[in-house]
Each structure stands twice: as structure tokens, then as C-alpha cells.
């Protein structure tokens, strides 16, 4: 056991970036779960006398044009932003995997029809697709999440189908069939667990891009209605003061960047471990 811990410690020490990435995501998660622990300022109502103050010990990220603490708004916005990103990933993961699994396992005309439809989705730039969807669905964080999720379905479907095609020809899959296992048993016990690895890595990777895409949509004004704090709208809100109060856009923007980079780093580690 002691040996195992020593091995683990060595593994971690050789990857400081991975440790940092994990810490960043854990911190942001803690913000989302218990924002009150990290800041005592109210994210919605400000003190007009303290408007547009630069970052200081009292206001880590400075204050905005109505005297609200920007750090408090980032911390309180984490919950909404992360929930939107997670739901977007779940939508694309579940729907994309299911479609890819069916297409890969069934084959034939169904495969052809599904994958040509996915090709169409892939041909449209995802942000454009999300914009079109959110225009149709209406505004709000949940709807933005759905729009981003649907725009990513095609990636998951393609990867899952490719993995299923690889696993499906495996000897142990045929062995299960020859052993009299029913088709859904073969699918759930043999094909799915062996095909899921790369798809889960893609899910973590997509979490990063989903944060970015959701922020972009709420930056454009499709997300939460003001004054609810949300990362993308925070960046958008500071735009008019960019010359005089750089912190209002830069610091929330850096938080988004840190979360995206951390998700990328962790997905890369997951991918690497699969090959070790």
C-alpha cells in the first residue's frame, strides 16, 4: 500500500500542470456549490459609492459601474455557468453516444441515414448552429445549454460509431454471440464498455469548449437576463468600460480561460492513461 502511494505521489509530482488543473476545477466547483464561503459581498446589489474601483485586497477583481464586487459576481455566476456546461455535455454525450452506438452496431441503411445527417450537422459551424437553435428555442441559460449540447452531438456520434465498429469485430464480441447472448446483452456488456473510453475523454474535452460556447452565447445576450451573474454576460457587461476599467472584462475572462485549459489538460491525462 505504501508502495502504491509512493508510485502515485511520483506520478503526481511529475505532472504539476495536471495538479494545478485539478485544483482549478475543484475550486470552481466549490464556488458553484457554496459561493457564500468565498465572498461576503452581494452579487446583485452594489454600493454606488465604491463603483469602478481597481482590484485591491478588499475587492479582488475590483468593482463594476454600479459598485458590485466583480469577484462575488464571478463566484456566484459559477453555479449557473457550470450547470449549463454540464447539461450541454450530458445532452451531447447521451444523445451522441446512443446515435453512434445504434449506427455502428446496426449498420446498413440506418447507419447511412444517421451518419449523413451527422455530416450535415458537422458541416455547419457549431456556434452558428447554436445561434440558430437558441433563436428558435428562446432565451435563457437552459436553452443555451440545449443549443450547445445539440451542436456537439455529431462529434460524439462519430467517435462512438468509430469505436463501436472497431470493437464490434473483436473476437470476444463474436464469442459472446456464439455463446447465445442476446443482442442487447452483447451491446451493453461487451461493446459499450470497450468503446466508451475515448468518448468519455471527448466529454471532458467538450466540457471546456462548452463553457466557452455558453459564455459566447451569453456574451451575445442569449443567456441569463441581467442582473443574474453569468460568466459570459460579465465579460459582455464590462465591454463599455474596457478603456477605464480593464478588470471588469479581463478577470472573468481569465477565469473562463483557466477552466477551459484545465478541462483540456485533464482530458489529455485521461487519454494518456488509456494508452499506458
Amino acid at each position: 500500500m505504501a508502495e502504491l502511494i509512493a508510485v502515485r505521489t511520483g506520478f503526481v509530482l511529475r505532472r504539476p500542470g495536471l495538479v494545478l488543473a485539478t485544483l482549478v476545477l475543484l475550486l470552481v466547483l466549490a464556488w458553484a456549490l457554496a459561493p457564500g464561503l468565498f465572498t461576503h459581498y452581494d452579487p446583485l446589489s452594489g454600493v454606488p459609492r465604491q463603483k469602478l474601483q481597481a482590484p485591491s485586497a478588499a475587492h479582488l477583481f475590483g468593482t463594476d459601474e454600479t459598485g458590485r464586487d466583480v469577484f462575488a459576481r464571478v463566484v456566484h455566476g459559477a453555479g449557473l455557468s457550470l450547470r449549463a456546461a454540464v447539461s450541454a455535455v450530458l445532452i451531447s454525450l447521451v444523445a451522441g453516444s446512443a446515435l453512434g452506438l445504434i449506427a455502428g452496431a446496426r449498420g446498413g441503411w440506418l447507419d447511412a441515414v444517421l451518419m449523413r445527417f451527422m455530416d450535415v450537422l458537422l458541416a455547419v459551424p457549431p456556434i452558428l448552429l447554436s445561434l440558430a437553435l437558441v433563436t428558435g428555442l428562446g432565451f435563457g441559460t437552459t436553452k443555451v445549454a440545449i443549443a450547445v449540447g445539440v451542436a456537439n452531438v455529431a462529434n460524439f456520434a462519430r467517435l462512438m460509431r468509430a469505436e463501436v465498429l472497431r470493437v464490434r469485430t473483436g473476437v470476444y464480441v463474436e464469442a459472446a454471440r456464439a455463446g447465445g447472448v442476446r443482442w442487447y446483452g452483447v451491446l451493453t456488456r461487451h461493446i459499450l464498455p470497450n468503446a466508451a473510453g475515448p468518448v468519455l475523454v471527448l466529454a471532458v474535452l467538450t466540457f471546456g469548449t462548452a463553457v466557452l460556447e455558453i459564455s459566447a452565447l451569453s456574451f451575445l445576450g442569449y443567456g441569463a437576463a441581467p442582473p443574474t451573474p453569468e460568466w459570459g454576460s460579465l465579460v459582455a457587461g464590462g465591454r463599455s468600460y474596457l478603456a477605464s476599467a480593464w478588470w471588469m472584462t479581463t478577470l472573468p475572462g481569465l477565469v473562463i480561460a483557466a477552466v477551459v485549459l484545465s478541462a483540456n489538460r485533464i482530458s489529455r491525462a485521461l487519454e494518456g492513461e488509456r494508452h499506458d
Partner: protein, 519 residues
């Protein structure tokens, strides 16, 4: 005569784990030394140390390797490059992966010539073609312009031999040069290699797991086990009077050297499965052509043939994993040629399959208990609790139940696959090359296990094999397939001892280990 290569007290380890310990070997010019051992015995590691190509993590810890008076273990990488190819050459194991798929084979042979400045850019192609011709390739100018994927396994192995000969080496190391090839091709390649070595007065270091091949081809044999040479003697002495217990074990296990069947052969019995006029087309190619045979209850029918002969396809059609293009399959009096859906699934209960490669046929994510009881659970006739009894049947301890396939050796995995196939108490088990991926001593154990289970459970086996030596040990009836056609079919006694077809005779003479016994 002086020794060309002398290895003294060689020790090699991988990341601190010893792989080879205290190995002494020597080879003279014009002599063939065979190093025989099972996987993990250190034979390939020794060979790779001699040519300075240990895999990453490998390190020579001690001892000396002298080649023509020169110490090799202290050479710089630069000096090594001069030695490799022009003094010592390697013929790698697997011709399927040892050639660069995007370069023409002629260029790959010519590469050695250019690196060692033996030919100019202009003269190299002609020299490469000449080398290909000497390696026994017909129409070498045309072949030189082809890519590896256009060549058969035997031709690719000849290309590798040509590339090894290119630098005019004094020592050739052949690492299992033919184990990926069919027996008749194997024999032609080895004959040719032997002849070339004799013409050029080359020393040959032959690494093999097959004592039969070693017996036929070498002057001396060194037997390796667990990183040490346990016995080293002239071939004839070693085979006639093995001194070490491990050598005796290898000799008794080698199927190519055993002649007696494992149980008395049976001639007649009640038919269980019969196929008539079975054919299968893959596109324009006819893989199986009008094949008919019968498997009787409690007996073994062996289907023999080389790769591409259609033997696996025939077995898969019988199991209805493939649908025949024409012909009928009758199982226990019932026509199952057109069975599908639930009726086919219920049939699976009575016929099971054991695959060639136990590394691929077990789902890596499941525990052994899950794997062996899966068919039981699929038919709701048992639970995971039955797993221990199933493992006991194939002589595996119940401590294995919680493990994953990756934690088991090849032989143990094949036992798990057998336990799975027998879990439903089938009447027929199709064994598709069940021992060809295993070491010889493990092969012998698995074959004995199969025969014991047949006696206990009254199983019928359809045994697919390319190896007549294995077939000789277990078959009651033998069918010989060639290019999709059943060229000979009869009792094992007739087919193996009084073959009527020319091709059967050729297969029989190609079995390694025969030359020594005839002598």
C-alpha cells in the same frame, strides 16, 4: 576452426528485472546453432543483445559478446551501425510488420546496400533484384517494384532474407523466421536459408520455440529456460539423450516429435452434425467449395489446411456464424441451414466455439467469473455461483474468479475459454486452432485437457488446425482442405499414414521434426 561469435556469461535486465543470466553460447562459420525455449525464456533477448538492439529499458549488465575477436558490448552507437547489416544481420520474426508498408520492397533491400556503400545509387536496384532472386523470389525485377501488401507472407519473409543477405554478413540471426507461416512455406524457406548459409559459409543463429524445427535444421541446440541455458549439446546427442529435465519435458511436449494419439482412435459412431455441398462466396471469391463431412457423437474430426484454405469459414458456417451460399447443415437430425433469431440462439446451447487467440476472445473488462458464466446466464440456467465448478473442470483454482483476463497467462486464458464453451454442456465444440497461439508445453496440457473432457462429457469436436502434428494426436477423422475444396477425407489412420492426395503427402513431409526421425 575458430569461433565466430562467443557469448560469455551474458546478463541482461529490463528496468532492473533480470531477463537473461549467465548465458554462454558460441557459433562457428558454416554452423547453425538453434536456441530453443518458450516465451519468456530469454531467447529473443539474447539474440537482440548480440545485435545491439535491445528494446527500450533493456540493458546488458555483464558478460561479454565477442564477434570475430571484437568485443561488442562496449561499442558506440556509431560503430554498431557499421557492424549491423554488414557483419551481423537479423531476420525479424513477423514479416507482416517488419517491412515498411509505404516503400517498395526493392528499395528496402537496396537501403542496406546504400547505407554500407556497397553499391552506388545507380547500380543498387539491379543488385537488390539479384538479392531477391537469390532469396528465391521468381521474377525479382517485377517483385522489387511492388509494395509489401501485394506480397504473400512467404514472399515477404523472403524479402527480409534478401535484406539480411544484402550486407554480406558473416552471421545471420533468424528470430522465429517462419513461425507466422504455413508449414509447406516454412519448409521451403528454411531449406533455402540452409542452402544459402552453406554456399556463403555463414554462421546461423536460429531462434525458435519449435524443437522440431531446431532438430531438423541445426548442428547444435541450446535450450533456454527462465533466462539461462539449461542444456547445450550437438543436436543429435541432445535429442537422443536429453540430460536436463526441462529438455525432456520440451521433447515430450513437442507435437512435431510425438507420434502416438492421446487416446485410442474411434472409427464409427452415431452422426451428430453433417454438412453437404457447403459453399461460400465472398464477392467473386469462392472461399469454400462443395464441402461435405460428418462429425459423430463423442468423436473428433480435424479439418486441416493452410491459411486461406477455407477451414475457418467452413467451421463458422457449421455454427451458423456465417450463412452458407449453398449447401445444408443438419444438426442432430434437424436442418439448421436457414435457422435464425431465437431458434438459432437456442441452437447455440448445443454447439460452442473455442477460438485460436485467447488474448482476443475474452472481454478485457469482465472478471473471469463473469466470462465463464455468461452463456449460463444468457440461457438462465445458472448464476455466477457456478463459476468455481466450471473452473475446477479445467483445473484452474477458484482464486482466479475475481481476476481480469490480462492477469492470466495464455494457457490459463485458453482454459477459461474452454470452461466458457463447456458451461452449457454442449454436444459439439468447434476448436479453431485452439493451441497454435500457445507454447509447446502449454499446448500439450491443453490438448490433454480437451481429450480428458471429451471422455468425461461425451463431446464431439470439430478441430481446425494447420498443424498435422497436433492433428495426429487427437483426431479420429481428418479432412484436408485446399483452396476451399476438401481434397481428402477419411479416418485419421488412412489420411495420415496412407495419404492418397498429393497435397496431403506434401503437408505430411513438411511437418518439422521428421527429418531427424527419418535419419
Amino acid at each position: 576452426m575458430t569461433e565466430l561469435l562467443v557469448v560469455r556469461d551474458l546478463a541482461v535486465s529490463y528496468r532492473g528485472v533480470p531477463a537473461v543470466r549467465g548465458v554462454d553460447l558460441s557459433v562457428r562459420s558454416g554452423q547453425t546453432l538453434a536456441v530453443v525455449g518458450e516465451s519468456g525464456s530469454g531467447k529473443s533477448t539474447t539474440a537482440h543483445a548480440v545485435i545491439g538492439l535491445l528494446p527500450r529499458g533493456g540493458r546488458v549488465d555483464g558478460g561479454s559478446i565477442t564477434f570475430a575477436g571484437q568485443e561488442l558490448t562496449k561499442l558506440s552507437e556509431r560503430r554498431w551501425r557499421e557492424v549491423r547489416g554488414s557483419e551481423i544481420a537479423l531476420i525479424p520474426q513477423d514479416p507482416a510488420v517488419a517491412l515498411d508498408p509505404v516503400k517498395r520492397v526493392g528499395d528496402q533491400v537496396a537501403e542496406t546496400l546504400l547505407i554500407h556503400h556497397l553499391e552506388s545509387k545507380r547500380s543498387a536496384p539491379a543488385a537488390a533484384a539479384e538479392l531477391l532472386r537469390r532469396a528465391g523470389i521468381d521474377d525479382p525485377e517485377r517483385r522489387a517494384r511492388q509494395y509489401p501488401h501485394e506480397l504473400s507472407g512467404g514472399l515477404r519473409q523472403r524479402v527480409l532474407i534478401a535484406a539480411a543477405l544484402a550486407g554480406r554478413p558473416k552471421l545471420i540471426i533468424a528470430d522465429e523466421p517462419t513461425s507466422a507461416l504455413d508449414v509447406t512455406v516454412q519448409r521451403r524457406i528454411l531449406d533455402h536459408l540452409e542452402q544459402l548459409a552453406a554456399e556463403e559459409n555463414l554462421a546461423l543463429l536460429l531462434i525458435t520455440h519449435d524443437l522440431g524445427v531446431a532438430a531438423d535444421r541445426s548442428d547444435e541446440i541450446a535450450v533456454m529456460s527462465q533466462g539461462r541455458v539449461v542444456e547445450h549439446a550437438p543436436s543429435r546427442t541432445l535429442l537422443a539423450a536429453p540430460a536436463h529435465a526441462y529438455t525432456r519435458q520440451l521433447l515430450s511436449a513437442a507435437p512435431s516429435l510425438a507420434t502416438e494419439p492421446l487416446r485410442a482412435r474411434r472409427d464409427t459412431g452415431e452422426p451428430l452434425v453433417s454438412v453437404t455441398g457447403l459453399s461460400k462466396d465472398f464477392g467473386p471469391v469462392r472461399a469454400v467449395d462443395d464441402v461435405s463431412f460428418t462429425v459423430a457423437k463423442g468423436q473428433t474430426l480435424a479439418l486441416v489446411g493452410e491459411s486461406g484454405s477455407g477451414k475457418s469459414t467452413t467451421a463458422r458456417m457449421l455454427l451458423r456464424l456465417e450463412t452458407p451460399t449453398s449447401g445444408t447443415v443438419i444438426f442432430d437430425g434437424e436442418d439448421i441451414t436457414a435457422a435464425r433469431g431465437e431458434r438459432l440462439r437456442l441452437l447455440r446451447r448445443r454447439m460452442q466455439l473455442i477460438y485460436q487467440n485467447p488474448y482476443a476472445s475474452l472481454n478485457p473488462k469482465l472478471s473471469i467469473a463473469d466470462i465463464v458464466t455468461e452463456p449460463l446466464r444468457a440461457f438462465k440456467s445458472g448464476t455466477r455461483k457456478d463459476a468455481a465448478a466450471l473452473l475446477d473442470q479445467v483445473a484452474l483454482p477458484s482464486a482466479m474468479l475475481k481476476r481480469k483476463p490480462a492477469e492470466l497467462s495464455g494457457g490459463q486464458r485458453q482454459r477459461v475459454a474452454i470452461a466458457r464453451a463447456l458451461s452449457l454442456r454442449p454436444d459439439l465444440v468447434v476448436c479453431d486452432e485452439p493451441v497454435s497461439a500457445l507454447d509447446v508445453s502449454v499446448q500439450a496440457q491443453i490438448l490433454e485437457l480437451l481429450v480428458r473432457l471429451q471422455e468425461q462429457l461425451g463431446l464431439a469436436y470439430l478441430f481446425i488446425s494447420h498443424d498435422l502434428a497436433v492433428v495426429r494426436q487427437i483426431a479420429d477423422h481428418v479432412g484436408v482442405l485446399r483452396a476451399g475444396k476438401l481434397v481428402e477425407y477419411g479416418t485419421a489412420e488412412e489420411v495420415l499414414h496412407r495419404p492418397r492426395h498429393e497435397y496431403t503427402r506434401e503437408l505430411l513431409t513438411a511437418v518439422p521434426g521428421r527429418l531427424e526421425r527419418a535419419a
